[in-house]
């Protein structure tokens, strides 16, 4: 005698069906979001006040101890700062004279003026955003493209644009993990391949007879040469016949709030 026994077990568990539905919804949502640029802009617009609040918080965090400092100390500091301001005013006048001279010399020598930069403010940096990336307040509508160079000064290149919306741009610094940069050593013109290791440091592996010393500037060539790194440590790995070169970004990104964007000229 055979008896059919009914059980409550189903071929597909309810949990699995739920997961499939959620997955489908997520995939649909991702697809809709990826195809719509305006949605991305809306999201970045909505988030920017929060980024700014965070940026303000971190900028003022190191000023907090000053609120609790001694009054006499503040008076002394005030006098010292007033003197510094006076000196700096003279320095500004000197700088303006030099700037004017430089401009005139450029015109006489017919050097192409270096003025086609887009100036942008940093609205978020680490720890608000992942390490070695920056969020800028300009985007596609300001004429920024993916791969554009990001500079701190006229000659110091810190990274490239990697992600864009209509009004926001994300920068990956040269030290961003696994970012590869092809550059050369300024002193010897020898080519070198740099690889970001994160945390503001860059690494390169070169043959043991490669001429490189601590303090060497590493540059990339575009229409102008830009400094991308400065050699900090050279470690010889004699058994394998290589040198490990550890470099730093040429400028402290955490102390700057303005960057310049230059179009990448692929020639």
């Amino acid at each position: 005698m055979y008896q059919i026994k009914r059980t409550n077990k189903k071929f597909l568990g309810i949990g699995l069906i739920k997961i499939l539905i959620i997955l489908l919804l997520v995939v649909g949502f991702v697809f809709l979001f990826s195809t719509s640029n305006s949605t991305q802009s809306l999201v970045s617009n909505a988030s920017s006040p929060f980024f700014m609040v965070g940026n303000f918080f971190y900028n003022n965090l190191n000023k907090m101890p000053k609120f609790f400092s001694d009054k006499d100390k503040l008076v002394t500091e005030n006098i010292k700062l007033a003197e510094e301001i006076r000196d700096l005013k003279f320095n500004i006048i000197d700088f303006e004279i030099l700037k004017y001279e430089n401009q005139k010399l450029r015109e006489q020598l017919e050097i192409k003026p270096i003025g086609d930069f887009i100036t942008s403010s940093i609205i978020a940096k680490s720890p608000q955003v992942p390490l070695d990336s920056l969020l800028l307040n300009k985007g596609l509508k300001d004429g920024i493209n993916n791969g554009d160079f990001v500079l701190i000064t006229e000659r110091i290149l810190i990274g490239k644009i990697v992600d864009l919306t209509k009004n926001r741009a994300t920068v990956a610094l040269n030290s961003f993990a696994d970012v590869t940069t092809y550059a050369f050593v300024a002193r010897t013109d020898e080519p070198i391949e740099l690889r970001g290791t994160g945390g503001g440091s860059i690494k390169a592996k070169v043959p043991i007879d490669f001429d490189i010393v601590v303090g060497d500037e590493i540059m990339v060539a575009d229409s102008l040469n830009y400094i991308v790194a400065v050699v900090g440590v050279v470690a010889e790995d004699t058994p394998f016949g290589f040198k490990d070169v550890f470099m730093l970004l040429p400028a402290d990104v955490s102390k700057t709030n303005i960057v310049f964007i230059k179009h990448f000229e692929n020639e």
């Binding site: 949990g15 739920k18 997961i19 959620i22 997955l23 997520v26 949502f29 991702v30 979001f33 991305q40 999201v43 970045s44 988030s47 929060f50 980024f51 609040v53 965070g54 918080f57 720890p127 608000q128 955003v129 992942p130 990336s133 969020l135 990697v162 992600d163 994300t170 990956a172 961003f176 993990a177 696994d178």
Partner: protein, 86 residues
Amino acid sequence: MSRLLYFLATMIIPIVFSWWLFIPMALLFVYVAKLPYEVILAGFFLDSLYYFGDGFFFEHLLTIFSLVLIALALFLSKMIYWRKII
């Protein structure tokens, strides 16, 4: 209501202070609310703001984390005692 507030906090607090706060907040969300699917949406929203690298995995890092977290919570939901605080 408190669930909605926590969902908003999961999105806003990482933006204001630091991106990695999303991870402890998502874990806490799973602990205090039963099967908080909203965390996937928050992860996706944050993924669109941050850059972790190229490739599918890095472009959707927080979404994948949230999905794995929710899937685990779903499978474990009948096996463990759930607090359901909010």
